[in-house]
């Protein structure tokens, strides 16, 4: 129950003034600029764009600054801003085959056309703190360069497709459902699940994926391919009557190749899980692909083992960190009247218990006399 009360305005204004001061920190330390956050905290910016579900690095950097580095708060700010934007249209589906790959690796084939491109990765670093970064110094040396090969880098799953060893993903142009327009409805088709996972909390999706690896809905995934790079976004413009490129965005795509022994309807073959996320966000993209595959048990005729990662209602209802935060944090807001009624109830129950005990005591004494 909610009752309007007044009286907190001064305290709230003062709290916000102090928040602004604390956000700035020690004024003798130079202030962070949006450009610094965008360029040097790129992976945080990417996470805020992915889970805020809005690709705009400057806005994500501003949100991180405003939120004092609390990424879920920053995602909240982006989601709130997003709702103020008119929707100008839908893009054509992006062509990840035409991606300008910064990174492209496969855990299933060593020698594959296009090669294994490591890109700017943390892999193979020793995870030892680098104290050179603590000292302000010269910019790093230019990274070595080699003449690139021309042409698109083909998808790994394409090679397996040729032998019929892996399920196909045939093209189709059904307009997909949109979570930002219609609330989540279950059962959710795959397109809706992918949208929910793409904007879901990285920690949650990671944990769900990890649970499948530990045996809760095991689907034995190999990373068939992981690629990170820029793709062009095209949109049909009604007033022009043709499609134009409206921008470039960086994406991370993960395709898993999963063991599948066949079912009543499908021959033994490899199956696929798919992850696609804004920015350089490979932990999230791999996690998304594993969870996507786990949620496909029904369409592939697998058994439901009761694993959380197979349960679409569980996964999709709890993946969104803004919904989760909203509901979780609302319990710290005033519930004075709610609590007052609980207090009354507990007092009444205690009174009744005490009265019954007293009555029983009295009747025992009477019986004894």
């Amino acid at each position: 129950m909610y009752v309007a009360v007044k009286g907190g305005e001064r305290a709230i204004d003062n709290a916000h003034a102090w928040l602004a001061e604390e956000r700035r920190g020690d004024p003798s330390v130079p202030e962070l600029s949006i450009a610094q956050i965008r360029e040097q905290m790129t992976l945080a910016v990417n996470r805020v764009m992915a889970e805020g579900s809005l690709y705009d690095p400057d806005l994500a950097a501003l949100a991180i600054k405003q939120a004092r580095g609390d990424l879920i708060e920053a995602i909240f700010l982006i989601r709130a801003y997003r709702t103020t934007l008119p929707r100008l249209g839908n893009s054509r589906p992006v062509e990840t085959t035409a991606m300008a790959c910064d990174r492209r690796i496969s855990a299933t084939f060593k020698d594959l056309p296009g090669g294994q491109i490591l890109g700017p990765t943390f892999d193979y670093t020793h995870r030892l703190l680098d104290f050179k970064l603590a000292a302000e110094g010269e910019p790093p040396q230019d990274a070595p360069q080699r003449p690139p090969e021309a042409g698109d880098v083909p998808h790994v799953t394409g090679f397996l497709n040729r032998e019929g060893l892996i399920e196909e993903a045939p093209a189709d142009d059904t307009p997909p459902p949109d979570l930002t327009r219609e609330p989540l409805e279950l059962p959710a088709e795959r397109a809706l699940r992918l949208q929910a996972l793409a904007r879901g909390d990285e920690g949650f999706v990671l944990s769900m994926a990890y649970s499948t690896q530990r045996g809760y809905g095991r689907n034995h995934a190999f990373v068939g391919e992981l690629r990170i790079g820029a793709v062009s976004v095209e949109m049909d413009i009604p007033e022009l009557g043709f499609a134009i490129e409206i921008g470039d965005i960086t994406l991370t795509e993960c395709e898993t190749v999963n063991q599948f022994t066949g079912s009543k309807t499908e021959p033994p073959q490899f199956t696929r899980g798919y992850g696609l996320v804004f920015g350089q966000t490979e932990r999230k993209a791999i996690s998304m692909a594993l969870v996507d595959r786990a949620l496909r048990w029904e369409e592939l005729g697998e058994d439901f083992t009761g694993a959380p990662a197979q349960d679409a209602e569980f996964v999709l209802s709890h993946a969104d960190n803004i919904q989760a935060t909203g509901f979780l944090e609302h319990i710290k807001l005033p519930h004075y009247v709610d609590f007052q009624s609980e207090l009354e109830l507990v007092r009444k129950l205690r009174r009744e218990v005490a009265e019954r005990a007293e009555a029983a005591n009295t009747s025992r004494q009477e019986a004894a006399e």
Partner: protein
Amino acid sequence: MGLLAKAGPGRVAALLDDTCARPGFDWLRHPETGSVMVRGRTGGTGAPFNLGEMTVTRCALRLRCGTVGHAYIQGRSKPDAEAAALVDAMMQTDRATTLQAGVLDPLRAEADSARTSRAARAAATKVDFFTMVRGED
């Protein structure tokens, strides 16, 4: 229009102003920032799904001669959208050659050079596998 959409902040306006004086125009649609839902395909090739939105600014204008120019650019910069729509309109007039040389060619060169420099860095991180020769004889 793709080049104009992807150009860095202030880039189109700077090249345009270096190339020629801006002509007078009337707005058909004032610059407006909105979002476009970006779609992907399941498995890279399958059915489409909604991945998330991106910010886009659009506008439309008419030059005094009647030529209409449109812009849809990535991001939220209204001055950049205006400059892009002016270039789009003037590309349909007899100043097309001047603008091609003064605005579009430099933008293309910058985009190519940025893409090549990233691709060259990526190529340098390509793994060259080699097998150690086993001494079996």
